[in-house]
Symmetry: C2
């Protein structure tokens, strides 16, 4: 089989050029006689890889100097606990938006450590919209405000940064980091698992404003304390060195594509094309409020659920894989992160039209 167009929600596609470079240097990185994964993380070869990756990420996202960039293990799921453990300090409550399955997981974990004040919830609307700002219930005494800019499962996305006043804003950007420019200075903490829009699974990028460091209690595990990692430049313990290297290759690739302005145009175009194909059909449907549709994760249903298995098997035969929707939503889901080429989206649209003509 040739390389497939893989619509997995994560782990997900990695740019082919990045895979090829990694393949070439897998046994010997730049004449070092070592694979990157064999290098001591404290040696000069690996340190050059790690620091370059951070520098490229800072450049891509225009991260201000008063933010630390951490490369940690444990994914976004560990952040769900690390955020309250590090930010609560003497406060007893935090604000959370509830806009989907990942919001709910973050909230469940926060409840171990504090009272959770729901700013707004779209659970009654099956997470297909975002409540109007007029109905938001922000608490000025909250330690922080947490939201999920993009819900990977529901395909729901905030198109603007929530206005929350002086309370630090914390966001789980796992599925949309690096998909477009972002004003980092609006945030206290941005975190993202790497396995959706960056590279392999097994790492989280955490961008944290320096004044928020140092407030974790004594019972916080050293590995769950941002200050531990900030002080050690993410090398308090052995970091996931190979994943970090891979992320660095992706950052370089993004710079070669023209950076995040260029990616934003491409990503918006891919999403627009797929939503158009869905909306101009009576056979396919997407349930999300058009004002808040995700650029990255596009769920859609077929008019006849009984055709789902046929759709999936024929799509696979056409080299379009991992399109099955999440079990909580059903139908299909196309995740089209940075690494999904425009040609992949066009191939999916062409297949969908052909399938509709034959089966509708």
């Amino acid at each position: 089989m040739s390389r497939a167009y893989n619509f997995s929600a994560g782990p997900a596609m990695v740019p082919e050029a990045v895979l090829q470079q990694a393949q070439e240097e897998l046994l010997d990185w730049q004449g070092s006689g070592m694979s990157v994964m064999e290098m001591s993380h404290r040696g000069k070869e690996y340190m050059s890889i790690a620091t370059q990756a951070e520098a490229d990420l800072r450049e891509l996202m225009a991260i201000p100097e008063n933010y630390k960039v951490l490369f940690l293990q444990g994914g976004a799921s560990s952040q769900f606990a690390m955020v309250p453990l590090n930010l609560l300090g003497d406060k007893k409550t935090a604000d959370y938006f509830n806009t989907g399955q990942w919001s709910k997981k973050a909230i469940a974990e926060a409840k171990r450590y504090c009272d959770v004040n729901l700013v707004a919830s779209s659970e009654a609307e099956n997470f297909c919209t975002i409540p109007d700002t007029a109905n938001w219930n922000l608490n000025a005494d909250a330690a922080y405000v947490h939201y999920t800019p993009n819900e990977t499962i529901g395909g729901l996305e905030f198109q603007e940064i929530p206005e929350v006043g002086d309370v630090p804003l914390v966001a789980d950007f796992s599925s949309t980091i690096l998909s477009r420019p972002l004003d980092v200075s609006r945030y206290g903490i941005i975190y993202a698992g790497t396995q959706k829009n960056i590279g392999p699974a097994g790492m989280a990028v955490v961008i944290v404003r320096e004044d928020l460091l140092g407030n974790a209690g004594d019972s916080t595990p050293a590995m769950f304390n941002y200050a531990t990692h900030a002080k050690a430049d993410s090398m308090y313990n052995t970091p996931p060195t190979y994943t970090w290297y891979f992320a660095g290759l992706v950052f370089k690739w993004l710079k070669q594509q023209g950076g995040l302005e260029a990616m934003a145009k491409i990503n918006q175009g891919k999403a627009q094309a797929l939503y158009n194909a869905i909306d101009t059909s009576d056979f396919y449907a997407n349930p999300v409020d058009p004002r808040y549709r995700s650029w990255m994760n596009i769920p859609f249903t077929l008019a006849d659920d009984g055709l789902n298995d046929t759709f999936l098997s024929e799509a696979k035969a056409a080299n379009l894989v991992t399109l099955k929707g999440h079990r909580s939503v059903g139908g299909m889901r196309a995740s089209i992160y940075n690494a999904m080429p425009e040609a992949g989206v066009q191939a999916l649209i062409a297949f969908m039209k052909d399938f509709e003509q034959r089966k509708a």
Copy 2:
């Protein structure tokens, strides 16, 4: 440069045959059209990789059925907190051996959660020996007994499993897991970071007796609760899929070498040869009590510290890399895990003899 003999303490060498296989299938795993790192962890392709890796590890180590095998993020450093958080239950104290730098780190973290009773310490002897069993101070009321079978920095190793009665025995096997057969049934928990004797950094293997699960308190982060991961077969969140795959390739390679009995003979032979070279020389020295010398990490000093830099640069020119000792010990350190070929140890010995003849 050709492939180097890399004596790094971790991350460390990976078997060349494993790297070659990974290189071949990096862009397309067995006709799937995907790199392993691009696969959904819940898809049937990846599930087959994950379950096979566990099955091979169980076979290699003869892990009894009443033990769960977990593949987690965060390395051994996260285990330092997870062990007390999961095992203390209603108890207030735990037993620890203090035999080196990694013991000390485990103890420091445990003190966040309980009183630490020192069973024995060789700190006064500069961690060059293990105290006699006659002087051990075991507490029958301890929640568990923790020790570090092999100290990577000091090169000190327990050659027998400590006899601790009915209290669960917990061990950090990061540097010696899979180096020889082990009676798993003697342990409550065995854990190991993967970056020394298994594969890439970014994962820990945790082998836990099932009756020890389920005792974590409500304030334990879900990601730090063994029960979370045991219930979800290590897929509560997205696991470090590519590292897990790599570990699986190493497990297959170990089976091809003849399993752990065969590896034990090879490893003992490699260590013996290097210790012989050191002991029969007046120029090199190893400070560790010969009864407790490590098979995996062999520190040695030169008679003249002023020659250290020359030794390292000439060794590098001879394709022998990452030999610098840990800053807390000085001199040199040769880490010779499973993936270090016998030829690599012979090359190091030949270089050492030549260097001595020229410089002594």
